[in-house]
């Protein structure tokens, strides 16, 4: 089991990492910045009444999706979670269709039927978010089994967090994937909380990466606030998978910047620890590694206008037709 201390690695993050090109850094930055802005805008939209239901911001965790998705290819699959906007954006989703979906409009990815908790994007090979915590793990495992049956050269990247790692399907899936050497990467976003329950209270052993070896695969622990670390770990896991060597468990340590969902103030969180994590903002860390500061500004400006456009598009989009909906209900 490879295990790294996140803090230590974070320190060396000042210089551009070997093996990660400026192009990749910028790509990751685009994802992370778009996610950050997307979440902030969605929280506004929620408060303005444009969004209903549950909204789980990915604020503070952006580096994980940005880094991991940059390490796989368009033809590779991801499986997402209830906190899934970052995954969706980083895998290449169209912000217009995303905002529309989260606003429940007919033009959204899921025609307004899914919402934030069920967003998926077929054209990006994003198999979707899930409202059942943990369910994505075996679904992603099965996608990898399907790939093996089809003999296509693809990888599945499964996102989930520490709470999901309490579910039985976590152990079952790791075992299943190891037994069949499936091309799957388990990206455990350890944000230290499942709603208000801290990892220390819900695990008998808080070293989550060590479950990898116990089930027959490498378990790697990285700094989840450092997109480069996540990228490199994912890259080598993807190579392993494509080489038919089987699955990898990656634990990426991070922290939510707020409560569990938009209406949760998260007062139970240790404010000191939170401040420490916020001081290590994944966007800052990534920015510090990018040489072309002008490129950063360009990306930011582009994301902002893209997002504004997306929100306009969504607001102008129609509600789904009730009649069409009623007509579409099948007889089973």
């Amino acid at each position: 089991m490879t295990k790294k201390s996140p803090k230590k690695n974070a320190a060396k993050g000042k210089v551009s990492s070997p093996g990660v090109s400026e192009k990749i850094l910028l790509k990751m930055y685009r994802s992370a910045y778009a996610t950050r802005q997307f979440e902030l805008k969605c929280m506004d939209l929620y408060r303005q009444g444009f969004i209903r239901g549950y909204l789980h911001p990915y604020l503070g965790e952006e580096a994980i999706a940005a880094g991991a998705c940059a390490a796989i290819r368009p033809e590779d699959f991801i499986v997402s979670t209830h906190r899934g906007h970052g995954h969706c954006i980083s895998k290449g989703a169209d912000l217009k269709l995303m905002v529309s979906e989260i606003m429940g409009r007919a033009t959204g990815y899921c025609k307004g039927r899914g919402g934030s908790m069920h967003i998926s994007s077929k054209e990006d090979n994003n198999l979707g978010a899930n409202g059942i915590v943990g369910a994505g793990i075996p679904i992603g495992t099965g996608a990898a089994m399907g790939i093996k049956v089809k003999k296509s050269k693809q990888v599945v990247l499964v996102f989930f967090s520490d709470g999901a790692a309490n579910q039985g399907v976590f152990g079952e899936s790791l075992n299943f994937a190891a037994a069949f050497e499936l091309p799957v990467i388990y990206m455990l976003e350890n944000n230290h909380y499942a709603v208000s329950t801290p990892v220390e209270c819900s695990f008998g052993n808080c070293d989550l990466a060590c479950k990898g070896p116990a089930y027959g695969m490498p378990g790697v622990c990285v700094d989840g606030n450092d997109a480069v670390e996540v990228y490199l770990a994912t890259k080598s896991a993807a190579e392993r998978a494509l080489n038919g060597e089987g699955p990898t468990l990656i634990e990426a340590k991070t922290y939510r910047h707020g409560g569990h969902h938009i209406n949760d103030p998260g007062l139970y969180m240790d404010q000191e620890v939170l401040a420490e994590w916020k001081a290590r903002d994944p966007l800052d860390i990534l920015r510090s590694k990018i040489k072309g500061k002008k490129k950063i500004q360009e990306i930011e400006a582009h994301v902002e206008s893209e997002l504004e456009e997306a929100i306009e598009f969504a607001k102008d989009s129609p509600q789904p037709s009730v009649d069409e909906f009623l007509d579409s209900i099948p007889n089973y």
Binding site: R52, G53, Y54, G104, R105, C110, G112, R113, G114, G115, M117, H118, N130, G131, I132, V133, G134, G163, A164, N166, Q167, G168, A194, V195, S196, T197, C201, S202, F203, Y268, Q319, P320, V322, F325, L326, I329
Partner: protein
């Protein structure tokens, strides 16, 4: 009499029962300091400590099975499953373990546990957080099944459920938590298996339960203005089912509509309709009909969500159609 919210009535029942009986304890996700997503367990951990108010890891199958085991060694566990949609995960604990233990052991052991959960649409929570799945438990012999509609019933039935020696599924409705009603200050129990005629009437019987009781009462109000007298039978307990009260009302009015939010196909409405037909056919003026949820997953969009669930107008229309 104090007016209190449904969720407060439940909270009070938990406090009282945990005080009365040290073998009662509760397990669930974020029910401790956080008091549960719907605040039903608020304050319990302060009085009873983390030994009896247990924030579990996110592992529904295990902590529900754990309740079975704990019940077998002489405690009275209460389990909270945040959404009835998630009871798919501990389904084996309920169907194959809790429901069958007493039977399979020839009566040697019993499983006095309560599974509290919450269902229904109405908050834009989409397909995996809006279901009404009581029919699944209704079909499994060995489980009692309770779905109260008022703070009064919620308190009295939760007391009953905790004291009962059979495993009981206790389903709350997310839109009921903030509704208010009178609750006597002294302790009382609502026995399981007794329906409550929430409104008397002569022309049509509405058989219903949980949140739809409120809709039926609203519809009855409307219909009264049109000169139609509607009786509303709130089942309160689905198992044991109070067939007597249902049949009595059916015989009186001769016209029955079953109203529930759960999908129509395979919902308990069919079962009750068939039961009424089998027992009171000659007293009926027409077929028993059903006003139920549409047979579809619940969509996220609010407008679409609304049409999936019976409205007051749907109910009133159905009544008018048969009178």
């Amino acid at each position: 009499m104090a007016e209190m919210m449904y969720r407060e009535a439940l909270n009070r029942a938990l406090f009282e029962e945990m005080r009365r009986d040290p073998s009662v304890f509760i397990m669930g996700e974020n029910i401790g300091e956080r008091g549960g997503s719907y605040k039903v367990t608020e304050g319990l951990i302060k009085e009873f400590g983390p030994e009896r108010v247990i924030d579990t890891p996110l592992a529904e199958a295990t902590f529900t099975n754990a309740a079975v085991g704990a019940a077998l060694v002489g405690t009275r566990p209460i389990v909270e499953i945040l959404f009835v949609d998630f009871t798919t995960l501990p389904m084996d604990a309920l169907v194959n373990q809790a429901a069958k233990y007493k039977f399979m052991s020839g009566g040697q052991g019993q499983v006095p546990m309560v599974l509290r959960t919450q269902g229904g649409a109405g908050n834009g929570l989409a397909a995996q957080h809006s279901q009404s799945l009581e029919a699944l438990f209704y079909h499994i012999p060995g489980l009692k099944l309770v779905m109260p509609s008022t703070p009064y019933d919620a308190y009295g039935l939760l007391l009953s459920a905790i004291r009962d020696d059979a495993p009981t599924i206790f389903i709350e409705h997310k839109l009921l938590y903030m509704t208010k009603g009178e609750v006597p200050e002294e302790e009382y129990v609502v026995p399981m298996g007794e329906a409550d005629v929430k409104r008397e009437g002569e022309d049509v019987t509405l058989v219903t339960y949980s949140y739809m009781t409120l809709k039926c009462l609203e519809a009855a109000e409307l219909l009264e203005k049109e000169g139609i007298s509607v009786e509303v039978v709130d089942l309160r307990t689905l198992k044991p089912l109070d067939e007597e009260t249902i049949l009595e009302s059916a015989r009186k009015t001769g016209r029955v509509i079953i109203v529930h939010e759960a999908c129509k196909r395979g919902g308990i409405g069919g079962d009750i309709a068939a039961m009424i037909m089998e027992n009171a056919y000659d007293d009926l003026d027409g077929p028993v009909s059903r006003v139920c949820g549409l047979d579809t997953p619940v969509p996220y969009n609010l407008e679409l969500e609304k049409v999936c669930v019976p409205t007051v107008e749907d109910i009133a229309e159905a009544v008018i159609k048969i009178t």
